[in-house]
């Protein structure tokens, strides 16, 4: 009887105190993380939204301007110019980089020697570990219109010299080439890992059915890599839209290489229009959010 009472008591106390077996340490860590997240993300995000309704330069009292900054963004030719540059860069970089990375990973996966696989992966991975500032300076040197390495090569092959970063038409593509080069290794490794996960039995069976590498890739490897491709695209969209130093240091003429990230920086730290800069950054955030949601939806739909 006493035992029954005890069990009942325990059961009822469990109902009354649902957190009784939650560890204090766990709660502390969770609160700490929440506080950290609040300090580094939630509060700054709130302040950015608040700022986007004001005209402020760090020093004077903020002037409330209502929706004017947002209205201005919609009518701002410089914003749309920067958005266009960002979109071209993002699409081109992602398509070229992921295609090349997949082909490289596929090629390396076909090598029978483990040493050669490691060698080539290492080779393509080198740019990833080079600090971006070093890469940028190297490429700037390569692109010099006078006495630059690339123009030297073109001359050697009897081809006309190119202005590269001096040309409004070429500058953006010069930066795309550099960023593709810099990111190829990381994407290749991820694809390579994904290809390694594809069941050899499945591929052997396809081979027995007469499927060549093209059919194996199209009908087996690529469909199975869909989650990896999805991840790569989502991460790349965010990374390319936020990319800054490449455009800040490898500048092309006019506005040909001014992306939204650079434009926001200029608004905040060069023109002192922090409120307007905040409004632009909110637009970038919304764009990234919408792009990510759409990609998730498409991915989930394709999985179903």
């Amino acid at each position: 009887m006493a035992a029954t009472v005890t069990r009942k008591y325990q059961a009822s106390s469990k109902t009354i105190r649902p957190w009784h077996n939650v560890s204090g340490m766990g709660v502390s860590v969770a609160l700490l993380l929440l506080a950290y997240y609040g300090v580094i993300f939630v509060y700054p995000f709130y302040r950015a939204i608040w700022l986007s309704f004001h005209n402020w330069d760090f020093i004077v009292d903020p002037v409330y301007v209502g929706m004017r900054n947002y209205d201005h963004v919609v009518r701002d030719n410089y914003f749309w110019q920067a958005a266009k540059v960002t979109a071209i860069f993002s699409v081109a970089e992602i398509v070229i980089a992921l295609t090349c990375a997949f082909l490289i990973a596929l090629g390396i996966s076909q090598l029978s020697s483990g040493f050669l696989q490691r060698f080539y992966l290492g080779l393509f991975y080198i740019p990833v570990v080079i600090p971006s500032i070093v890469s940028i300076l190297l490429w700037r040197f390569l692109y010099l219109p006078n006495d630059g390495v690339l123009n030297g090569l073109l001359t050697r092959f009897g081809l006309p010299q190119q202005p590269f970063l001096n040309s409004s038409d070429q500058a953006l593509w010069c930066i795309i080439a550099m960023v593709v080069w810099a990111n190829l290794g990381g994407a290749s490794i991820i694809f390579f890992a994904g290809i390694n996960e594809v069941s050899i039995d499945l591929l052997e069976a396809a081979k027995l059915d007469g499927a060549g590498l093209w059919r194996q890739t199209k009908d087996i490897i690529l469909p199975l890599l869909r989650p990896i491709i999805f991840y790569q695209v989502v991460v790349s969209v965010i990374a390319t839209v936020q990319m800054f130093e490449q455009f800040y240091l490898l500048t092309g003429p006019g506005f040909s290489t001014r992306t939204l990230a650079v434009y926001t920086y200029e608004l905040g730290f060069r023109t002192l229009n922090l409120g307007y800069g905040a409004a632009v950054s909110i637009f970038i955030f919304l764009f990234l959010l919408i792009a990510t949601v759409i990609q998730f939806q498409r991915f989930l739909a394709s999985r179903d």
Partner: protein, 457 residues
């Protein structure tokens, strides 16, 4: 497929290969390329071991750093009980740092910056009012060129900055002494802009239909030149009362057309195949530009082979006003927090006074080739004996007396310059470029005025 891989070996190999590549890259960077990108911020230098600690932020540009360090050292050597730390900061970083730091209340005690960084805000809330600390305006005008004290708004007639030096942008033409000498052209005898253009045409070299030497490049100073020429030909591009920018006038169009003609006329003196705004200085240092207007500071940091020298940019033959706009000026300011610490304030004033002594500034002209703002400096005969003293004196005494500043409120005028650059490249028409520039400048001006609560000062 990666069955024999060993992660550790892979990482080791990658790290080794990367290190080798970085080493190779660095060799290319420092051994071959001549890059104008500022070096990374260097470590601060401290002088003295005294009880009062004073911090100074300066642009990471050799001559300026040296000037502030020597002023601090001299002040310490005079027996003052201070420890002064001079922190050089790269130009763009310093620009991005000053205002947020002031807002946060953790700025340095003494700050070197540029006037155009401060035009779009209320300077009276940014820095300490210097009235009564470093002399009255009348007293300062005795030792400094008076025009340099009128580059910014002066709320209630007070002074918030001390002008130090300037490159003067298009008010000065830097030329390749070796090329000019070889062609038998005496740059100092060029009386008008048209004479300078003729010299540029003579020095331009074309090979196989491609320009290999630009005789005269205005690309880095296009906006500055247009503003100067508008004034020189009797026009106006900024109305201080209303804050309206009007580059799109007959004078403005004629000015931009003049620049376009230099690049695409029958006898061009520059080509975008050879250079651009971003690499003009690189190409100059390669000996492929005979003259440019990137500022007098370039004379002192150019490659020796180009034998750089400078002249005041000659006025247009049709000029009716003898006036030049030297753009921004490097200035010294004091933190507002010093108002709460009199001891520290007195030490800071002492260091600044040390910096602006003619005998201190004379040393600066051993490294710096631009224009100093101190009138007293150039009155000292020893100026003739320093490396860049004579050219600095020639330029300063020509530019400052006829300098004029619009006292506008647009901190970043670069996008307006880009619009002119687009017209010079043939991407847009002259009218469109000037209208776009006006639209941008007016928008920025109005927003700045709204913040400041502008009243004409």
């Amino acid at each position: 497929m990666f069955s024999h891989s060993n992660r550790r070996t892979f990482l080791k190999n990658t790290a080794a290969a990367s290190a080798a590549t970085i080493g190779f890259g660095s060799t290319l960077r420092y051994g071959l390329a001549q890059d104008p990108t500022p070096e990374p911020t260097v470590a601060p230098v401290s002088v003295g071991e005294g009880g009062t600690e004073i911090s100074i932020w300066v642009q990471d540009f050799g001559p300026i750093v040296t000037a502030y360090q020597e002023a601090a050292a001299n002040y310490v050597a005079a027996g003052n009980d201070v420890k002064v730390t001079v922190q050089p900061i790269a130009f763009a970083d310093l620009l991005a740092k000053v205002l947020p730091s002031v807002a946060a209340g953790n700025e340095a005690d003494i700050i070197m910056g540029y006037t155009d960084w401060y035009v779009a805000t209320d300077i009276s809330r940014l820095f300490l009012n210097l009235d009564g600390l470093l002399g009255t305006q009348a007293e300062l005008e005795e030792t400094l060129f008076p025009t340099t004290l009128a580059t910014l708004d002066m709320p209630e007639g007070s002074i918030y900055y001390l002008p130090l030096l300037a490159g003067a942008r298009s008010a000065v033409t830097t030329y390749n002494g070796a090329m000019f000498q070889q062609a038998g052209i005496d740059a100092t005898s060029l009386a008008t802009w048209e004479n300078l253009v003729e010299a540029g045409r003579e020095l331009t070299v074309m090979e196989g239909g491609r320009m290999t030497v630009a005789g005269l490049s205005p690309v880095s100073a296009a906006l500055s030149l247009v503003k100067n020429w508008v004034w020189q030909t009797g026009g106006e591009f900024y109305n201080g009362e209303t804050g309206e920018w009007t580059l799109a006038t007959a004078e403005g169009e004629a000015s931009l057309a003049r620049l376009i003609d230099l690049g695409s006329g029958d006898n061009p003196t520059y080509s975008y195949d050879l250079l651009s705004v971003d690499n003009e200085f690189d190409v100059w240092n390669q000996g492929k530009v005979a003259s440019h207007m990137n500022g007098a500071w370039t004379i002192g940091v150019s490659e020796e082979a180009v034998e750089a020298n400078g002249i005041p940019t000659p006025l247009l033959a049709e000029a009716t006003n003898e006036v030049v706009y030297p753009e921004h000026i490097a200035v010294t300011t004091l933190s507002r927090r010093l108002a709460d610490d009199d001891t520290k304030l007195q030490h800071c004033v002492g260091i600044v006074q040390e910096l602006y002594k003619p005998e201190s500034l004379i040393d600066t002209t051993n490294q710096y080739s631009g224009l100093l703002c101190s009138k007293a400096l150039y009155a000292d005969p020893k100026i003739e004996d320093t490396a860049f003293g004579p050219v600095s004196k020639l330029l300063a005494e020509s530019v400052w007396p006829r300098a004029h500043f619009p006292r506008d409120h647009v901190a970043n005028q670069a996008p307006a310059g880009v619009e002119l650059d687009r017209a010079m490249r043939g991407e847009i028409s002259i009218q469109e470029a000037l209208s776009n520039a006006d639209a941008y400048l007016n928008d920025q001006e109005q927003q700045a005025r709204e913040r400041i609560g502008h009243v004409n000062r």
